[in-house]
Amino acid sequence: MGLDFSVVPPFAGALFTGALWTIAITVSAAILSFFGGIVFAVIALYAPRIIRLPFRLFAWLFMGTPLLLQLFLIYFGLIQIGIDLPAFVAGVIGLGLHYTVYNSDIIQSGILAVDKGQYEGARTLGLSRMQTLRKIIVPQAVRSVIPPIGNNMIALLKDSALVSVIGVAELTLSSQMAISRTFRPFEFYVAAAACYYVINLGLEAGLRRIERRIQLAR
């Protein structure tokens, strides 16, 4: 049986919808993991031990176990304790928290790399520790780590395929559904790959834009 890509166009609409879900999940989880990463980083560096320890345990869990397992746990496991999340929400939380932990590591190193003079400059003006952190240190740290955070976001886009297993009809699951109707895995997986590639290009262009915008302000 030869390859025949003419089987794809009839499913273009389904794939397109799947791609939109992929984008929605990726963007939502990216936003969650970005702000979550900041919060985690600040807690890891500055919170009292009693708060830091549970967060460290949490971080260790999210770094040391498979993302797939985490998604299962959030989607299927939490039902047992009465938390029944829609698949999309469970997927965003799973991906988002997973990448929160990775972003937090990067942002922590960014915070530690901010010149000590910045802290002194702010404190001598009369800003409190918290104000200095919020207005001076964190904004600079985040700007300095945009490239590695961007790499994480690209990894996040690819990992978003995993939420197909909890039934979110994103790009991967949409192509699988098309395959189950047509028995044409090669064509549809290639089509899905092409879609991921295009989304990736868009994401990279967005990241470059952000980098250019903050270029002066560093």
Partner: protein
């Protein structure tokens, strides 16, 4: 009483482990006075200056800003509130400017007044314009620090400190990091402040500038004030051997 000191340092001492960096230093600075602190590297000039706003806390001794003790022993939380309030009255200018690179010039100047004095955006902008006018950089109001020369950065840093309307200004080698041709523009701003009778404590390696601008000169060495007096005396007729040695080295090549 107008000649009550603005800054009163009483028996300041500071050690890092067994290294005594400041040894029983007392210093009073009156309103409008301009004091230069000179001395060899490592003599404790920065440490003394930074003790004034408790950036480097003393091991013992007291620092007073008018009738408030700066380095008051307080529980952490109360101390935080206390020191933040005190520091609003003490402007500080650093060797490496410490401008906030992620904020443009306007926001560098207005951030603290907006956050700490609750002034409106309009008032803050007027304040930025006023201070930038003073340092001659109004046309750079929308620039980012990365777009400024070293001299311009330092002038913005001075404007930023002045925007808090401090009672005293501390300068820690404000021109040491600058290319020689950029030193003068910063010196001019400081001279202008002197003419406006801003109280200033200036740590400097520039003897010429100290001589021109300051009312008093302190020569420090190894954590003590070896000699102090009016610039005519310190520079032309120092009593102490160590002062003479230091000046011989540092006035060489300067007129």
């Amino acid at each position: 009483m107008t000649d009550r000191p603005i800054i009163d340092i009483r028996n300041a001492a500071k050690s890092y482990g067994s290294l005594e960096v400041l040894k029983d230093i007392s210093l009073q600075v009156k309103r409008g006075q301009i004091v230069a602190i000179i001395g060899p590297s490592g003599s404790g000039k920065s440490t003394l200056l930074r003790a004034i706003n408790d950036l480097d806390p003393l091991t013992s001794g007291e620092v007073w800003l008018e009738d408030t003790q700066v380095n008051k022993a307080l529980p952490t939380r109360q101390y935080e509130a206390h020191i933040n309030a005190v520091r609003q009255n003490i402007g500080m200018v650093f060797q490496h400017f410490n401008l906030f690179p992620h904020l443009n010039v306007r926001d560098n100047i207005t951030l603290a007044p907006k956050m700490l004095k609750g002034i409106s955006k309009t008032e803050a902008d007027a304040l930025a314009v006023e201070q930038l006018n003073k340092v001659g950089l109004l046309d750079r109001i929308d620039y980012y620090p990365s777009q400024l020369s070293g001299g311009q950065k330092q002038r913005v840093a001075i404007a930023r400190a002045l925007a808090m309307k401090p009672k005293v200004m501390l300068f820690d080698e404000a021109t040491s990091a600058l290319d020689p041709e950029l030193v003068e523009e910063v010196n001019l701003v400081m001279k202008q402040l002197a003419e406006e009778h801003m109280t200033m404590i200036i740590v400097t390696h520039e003897m010429g500038f100290a001589q021109d601008v300051c009312d008093r000169v302190l020569f420090m060495d190894q954590g003590v004030v070896v000699e102090e007096g009016p610039p005519e005396v310190i520079f032309k007729n120092p009593a102490n051997e160590r002062t003479r040695n230091f000046l011989r080295k540092h006035l060489k090549g300067q007129n």
